[in-house]
Symmetry: C2
Subunit: 325 residues, 2 copies
């Protein structure tokens, strides 16, 4: 499977690494909006300006779109689904139906397969929500995130005057998790589910009290949470907070039995040292599925719900039944 | 969807309950090898001797086989796949390839869909092994069972002379679980993974010492495990050990990154008050899938690996994308 990557940030580099772990895949080109000569990649693939992408129509089997959901993907995925089988990790939950419609139109017309919103949330978490709901129709869903770095919240802190750098961790509240797993079906407010821990490096002379107040009262981002602010040195931030870990869990609790007397807990849990590298690993597995489905004659936009699990694996049906069932 | 059940034990009763939780399904007949008049069911469906099952060919959309894997299903699933779409929970892992071949032949010829080995292991655990392996190609798999009742081990104890009744719990070893989740990639012996807890009621005058010795030294069942034997009264057994709870977890730990420096943990966890009722709930979801796939013109034997998740849910693709992605 000949793979192209569009966008060489954390996610693009993650896909490059993931390809090395999957012998049936080969990276042939990295497409960029920058000057290709400014980009040094860690493999033998070509680096190509995106303006030339049409020339690669018959040279790659799948294009993995590694841009952002805010502005890149709403434009890129419908555009490139006209030329290639594509995968994206579009994660603006509220806009997924609209994105699906746009991508589907292009992919149907071009006879390509486009799998959107691939990753872990949306993605693996969605799958687990769906399976658990189908199996336990009478129940309650919970999703917890973290402990992990929220890029958006870290950026929000960095925009405050007097802040040199910052990292924000989203942390699930253990008490809430315990109540959920204990089948107490709690109704949880935003504040009861997650706390926010901020590690902040101040510019010289900045007023720590004011910065802390601005963080804790920031609407949408922090005001609804119990937020802790730690002021640390730049060295400490680099030494202890340079990673991009994340994770979380999806839990569904449900009841069965003639008197609904039996409780069941289905829990899916991820603990990830690198959010973008794990997401990339999911992207490559679904890239394999898109390529195979297209070879079978399928086309159009799809999500993780539409893909039979066996398409993700390089193993044959026979091997899977023998070794994993 | 008109459902038939073959076999009215714990699993059959579980399916009957699960149907009540799924408004798009209807139980129309329970087939039995016993005298139908001896069986009292908890719904308005007909109870029919299995000898008359052929008359129901056009009256049910899917037959759920609720027999045992040792002798019932190897014969029943290929036999009834000639007449109906069928689902079974065949769980003799080593014989799955052979069972698949037999069932596939019948289902292909008859133009029916037969989904085999549905439940949680094999079933949901298999799915999670497969997804996790496809996503993290470089990693290690672990499966732990329990805490839960092993019917086979309880039966083995009951066959010992002097035992009136018994219940055996399989319990995962916390230290092993912790090491796995901590990405230590331990190599674990049988003894290091699970312990066995036995609650035994003796017949009057039985020799407790001898019974305990016979349990602990029983080959295959107990000799390779750290086994604890508790002698209790029949009242206590009935009061505290009458349920059939089970569960367990599938964990895959894997590495990514240019130097394999990042660890990831994917964990799927089930905690079930009633093993047969939960298994039944999985069966009904896959019954929906089999029926739909057959309506789309598909046929032959399939496993959980072959079924796109959306087929399990009564919701439309649009609804799923809007509410669960």
């Amino acid at each position: 499977m000949r793979v192209g990557i569009l966008g060489y940030g954390n996610l693009g580099r993650g896909v490059e690494n993931a390809i090395k772990q999957n012998p049936d895949t080969e990276l042939v080109a990295v497409f960029t909006r920058r000057n290709p000569q400014d980009i040094k990649i860690n493999s033998n693939a070509k680096v190509v300006n995106v303006s030339e992408i049409e020339n690669w129509k018959d040279k790659i089997d799948i294009l993995i779109l590694c841009g952002g959901s805010a502005t890149d993907l709403p434009e890129q995925t419908p555009k490139y689904a006209k030329l290639f089988n594509v995968i994206d990790s579009f994660d603006t939950h509220a806009k997924i139906p609209e994105h699906f419609t746009n991508v589907d139109k292009s992919a149907q017309e071009a006879g390509k397969v486009a799998i959107i919103s691939v990753g872990w949330d949306p993605g693996l978490f969605s799958l687990n929500r769906m399976y658990a709901n189908a199996i336990l129709p009478e129940g309650v869903d919970y999703t917890f995130w973290g402990k992990g770095v929220s890029q958006g919240h870290s950026d929000a802190i960095r925009r405050i005057e007097g802040v040199l750098d910052a990292k924000q961790y989203t942390v699930p509240v253990q008490k809430a998790l315990d109540a959920v797993k204990n089948c107490e079906n709690p109704s949880l407010t935003t504040r009861e589910k997650h706390t926010r821990e901020c590690y902040v490096v101040l510019k010289e002379g900045a007023d720590a009290k004011r910065v802390e107040h601005e963080i804790k009262t920031m609407p949408n981002y922090f005001a609804d949470y119990d937020t802790t602010v730690h002021f640390i040195s730049l060295e400490e931030l680099k030494k202890n907070h340079s990673g991009i870990p994340h994770g979380g869990c999806v839990i569904r609790t449900g009841k069965t039995g003639s008197n609904k007397e039996n409780n069941h807990v289905i829990e899916y849990n991820l603990k990830l040292d690198s959010n973008p590298e794990f997401t990339s690993s999911v992207l490559i597995a679904y890239a394999r599925a898109a390529y195979r489905l297209n070879k079978e004659g399928q086309k159009g936009a799809k999500t993780v719900f539409d893909i039979a699990p066996c398409y993700l694996s390089p193993k044959s049906g026979e091997e899977l039944r023998k070794t994993m069932l």
